[in-house]
């Protein structure tokens, strides 16, 4: 019996690889298994090798592994490209149609996937046959797929469901005949706990929905588009709208316009789009207009690796705007954290009246994983200081243009008023201005206004900006960010198993940089390793920029487009101590 295993399906892009992987993953997620999936794909629609790797476990893991227990191959190329990942005596299930040839270290099961599917009614059901064969290997009953198939196909009629279930059963039976049922690959039964299964993009979208964001303006880009695709279906149900703009500059300025207009508005993009938004992000900072920007990082620079993992926008996000503005940058790691971080982002943007950038990465954005059920109560809407018509009436304010939108206050935050409110007329400009918003360039006012804006975040510290786990006074402390959380946690467990004292500090915010929290997390550590998916060590650069120091610090960097595997981190750390 296995507590966990790694299953992979591969074939030509467009031949059902993704739906096969998804059906498999959803069915297991519903049984209570923890599932973490990883899609390998390229920037084309049809053709080209793609694969979907799914890790199944009775414990929670948030990383893929470097080996495959069971490989499902729809073509020879899949075996050629992925065969070496299959572990010693691992299983390859391949369609007999192409006379598969497999490496010696693996056990090949040639199953007539296409033939069986044709006998059941249609060749396209070969993925169902393959799922049946997989179920046989894993010691699962074929009926675990029943519910998922009903949801997917019932609108096409019971017959379609039955045909697909028959294909699964036949694949299962054929595999059993071949001797594919193997107790060495059977999964330990799961406890049936209810979870969700989603990407961080979906978690971000749900967070925005729960946080009351009713306007989203965005331009399609990999790997961010799913956020707008999801919300364009959801927002009309709650009286909101998504606008697909002509470019990211329009997306950002429309978001600013909507936020100024009184909505909770946001945009979602990736590196190239973030670069285009920079001038307008400065406008948001200068006019104290609250906006939320989601940046799903991908491989840069330029078009870079648009469908591959990277974490290389941190410096751009922190320092990209010209001039100096207050800004908050949050870096959640998991779907659960994305949901609440987006809720926080809207509250913080409105409380401090500044842009908030929430950064994820491609690995988080696109890969579905087992997720705890979200609670709506975890997101409370707090719109910050707003002057209403009643407030202004009470204060006897008239529409004279004298409302002090940028009133100097103790903490630098002044009241907003939404256009349309009687008594609140004021001017807003990206030009330096006085308290009533009108342009004013005098040195004393300039200095005071700069300090008003830049000091707004003085009292701000995000609770849980650094999450530390592991041993006290460790031999090694691993600093991580974004999707790396899972691989680090797993490497840490293996290192601890080897007898080392190890700790893990995960960064949940980069601006304001959590100096004290990180210093506290690092105290007593003999070595510090900063793990990040970029070539220049951006997080480490930020640590030294903000004065977080350690005598024995090094970087583990990966910038080949692939996510960190636990073994990458384990091997590096083993070599270090």
């Amino acid at each position: 019996m296995l507590d966990q295993l790694s299953w992979k399906v591969g074939g030509q892009q467009g031949e059902g690889v993704e739906s096969t992987g998804e059906t498999f993953a959803i069915a297991l997620n519903r049984k209570g298994y923890f599932v973490y999936s990883f899609r390998h794909f390229s920037s084309r629609i049809k053709g080209g090798h793609s694969n979907d790797k799914v890790r199944v476990s009775v414990h929670r893991y948030r990383a893929i592994v470097d080996y495959t227990d069971v490989l499902l191959a729809f073509d020879q190329e899949t075996i050629d490209l992925n065969g070496s990942d299959v572990r010693q005596d691992g299983i390859i299930i391949a369609d007999s149609k192409f006379n598969p040839v497999a490496p010696d270290h693996a056990r090949l099961f040639s199953v007539p996937l296409t033939k069986i599917a044709e006998d059941c009614g249609s060749a396209i059901m070969k993925n169902m046959v393959s799922l049946g064969a997989s179920a046989c290997v894993l010691g699962l009953k074929p009926d675990i797929f029943q519910e998922v198939l009903e949801e997917r196909f019932l609108r096409k009629g019971q017959k379609v469901v039955d045909q697909n279930m028959e294909a699964i059963q036949k694949g299962f039976d054929y595999m059993k005949e071949l001797g594919g049922a193997d107790d060495n690959f059977a999964l330990t039964p799961a406890d049936g706990t209810k979870h969700l299964f989603m990407t961080c993009n979906e978690a971000v979208a749900l967070g925005a929905l729960a946080a009351g964001s009713r306007i989203m303006a965005a331009y399609p880009i990999t790997p961010a588009s799913e956020v707008m695709e999801y919300l364009i279906k959801q927002l009309p149900k709650v009286g909101g709208a998504v606008v697909q703009t002509e470019d990211e500059i329009a997306a950002m300025t429309m978001t600013i316009g909507a936020a100024y207009g009184g909505a909770r508005a946001f945009t979602c993009t990736s590196g190239p789009g973030l670069a285009l938004m920079m001038e307008a992000i400065g406008l948001s900072g200068m006019t104290e207009t609250p906006v939320v920007v989601i940046d799903t990082q991908r491989g840069g620079p330029s078009t870079g690796l648009p469908t591959k993992q990277e974490q290389s926008d941190y410096l751009a996000a922190l320092f990209g705007t010209h001039g100096e503005i207050p800004k908050i940058v949050l870096t959640p790691s998991t779907p659960e954290e994305c949901f609440t971080a987006v809720g926080d982002a809207f509250n913080l943007a409105e409380k401090y009246q500044c842009p908030v950038i929430v950064m994820t990465d491609l690995q988080m954005a696109l890969n579905k994983q087992t997720t705890d059920v979200f609670k709506l109560d975890d997101i409370k809407i707090d719109r910050g200081l707003i002057a209403t018509e009643e407030d202004l009436q009470r204060e006897n304010e008239h529409d004279s243009g004298e409302f002090k939108r940028y009133e100097f206050t103790e903490n630098g935050v002044s009241r907003r008023v939404f256009p349309g409110t009687k008594g609140g007329i004021h001017h807003v400009t990206g030009v330096e201005h006085m308290e009533n918003g009108r342009p004013f360039e005098a040195p004393a006012n300039r200095k005071k206004m700069m300090e008003k804006r830049l000091n707004k975040l003085d009292d701000f510290s995000l609770e849980g900006a650094v999450v530390r786990t592991g041993d006290e006074n460790p031999d090694l402390l691993i600093v991580g960010i974004g999707a790396n959380v899972g691989a680090i946690g797993e490497a840490m467990a293996r290192l601890q198993h080897d007898g080392l004292k190890v700790a893990h500090a995960q960064l949940h915010a980069l601006l304001p940089f959590p100096v004290k929290e990180l210093e506290a997390a690092m105290s007593g550590a003999r070595h510090v390793v900063v793990v990040e998916n970029n070539a220049t060590g951006q997080v480490r650069h930020l640590m030294s920029h903000f004065g977080v120091q350690h005598d024995n610090m090094s970087s583990l960097l990966k910038y080949d487009g692939r996510p960190f595997l636990p073994v990458d981190i384990y091997n590096y750390c083993k070599g270090l101590v």
């Binding site: 149900k237 709650v238 406008l283 529409d399 400009t429 009108r438 342009p439």
Partner: protein, 288 residues
């Protein structure tokens, strides 16, 4: 009820004496009063340039955005609060140079906002470079040997992009301009009023007199039919883009707001943002 005076504030424009923009400002204020708008019901969103300062010179809500982006900003404001009268404004460089992309898409998108451009065929605030509407041969600081590019004709582009309300004015003809702005604001959908607004400091070619001699006033043209799109395009071509008056209107096309599914009657800005617990549960079900 608000009067023209209520739309005035005490800010002195930094425009040069004689600048065409003064009349445009006055015409907007007059049109708003004529339409019985209250100052707090209006938001003027402008870009960067001499004319972009206009949002600070009208007593209403005003947002002075970044260069070239008045239109997407204004569309955002309208999305958040559909009850507002939203006017986007700026110059020819702002709207048809750096912002041309947004202009064509705003036309296509057709949100119910009014775009008033002060077109002086030159960059004034940066002190005299040629603009996208400068004619071929036009001499400016960045075209010392004469402009070798052809002028862009805003009305032609607007019509080609599918605009539902297209007008052109001249800042010397305030009576016509007020009427065009009123009609533009009343039009349900995107409206453009491109206004020839001479720069007395840097453009010694396209002067008040030059415009007077060259514009063709459609109000005086017998048989002109502003509902005929082909006639409108032909007229724009024949006049080299110098036709003034109402050039084209299609008042049957629904605006963007009319077409957004589920878009609420009440402004989003003042609506309850709390999500219904049942709706949330339902949304989560999709991921179970």
């Amino acid at each position: 009820m608000a009067t023209v005076k209520d739309f005035r504030n005490d800010v002195r424009p930094n425009w040069c004496p004689g600048c065409g923009d003064f009349s445009v400002q006055a015409s907007i204020q007059r049109a708003l009063a004529n339409l019985n708008k209250e100052p707090h019901e209006v938001a003027v969103v402008s870009g960067i340039g001499c004319s972009g300062r206009i949002s600070g010179y009208i007593n209403s809500y005003g947002f002075h955005a970044v260069h070239g982006r008045a239109l997407p900003t204004a569309q955002g404001v309208k999305l958040a609060n559909r009850d507002l009268t939203v006017i986007a404004s700026g110059g020819d460089g702002d709207g048809f140079g750096i912002g041309l992309n947004h202009f064509m898409h705003a036309v296509r998108r057709n949100m119910d906002i009014t775009y008033i451009v002060m077109d002086n065929h030159i960059y004034g605030l940066t002190k005299g470079q040629h603009s996208p509407t400068s004619a071929h041969g036009f001499v400016a600081k960045t075209t010392p040997q004469g402009n070798i590019e052809e002028a862009l004709i805003p009305t032609q582009i607007a019509l080609a992009a599918g605009i539902g309300f297209l007008a052109q004015g001249f800042s010397s003809d305030v009576k016509q301009l007020v009427s065009l702005i009123e009609q533009g604001i009343a039009h349900n959908g995107f409206s453009l009023i491109n206004v020839f607004s001479p720069c007395v400091t840097y453009n010694k070619t396209n002067t008040y007199d030059w415009f007077r001699e060259n514009i063709v006033n459609l109000d005086e043209k017998e048989g002109y039919d502003a509902t005929n799109r082909a006639m409108a395009m032909q007229t724009i071509i024949e006049t080299g883009g110098l036709a003034t008056g109402l050039i084209y209107q299609d008042d049957k096309r629904p605006s963007y707001q009319d077409e957004i599914p589920g878009y609420p009657e009440k402004p989003i800005a003042f609506s309850n943002l709390e999500l219904d617990a049942k709706a949330f549960e339902k949304a989560l079900q999709q991921f179970a």
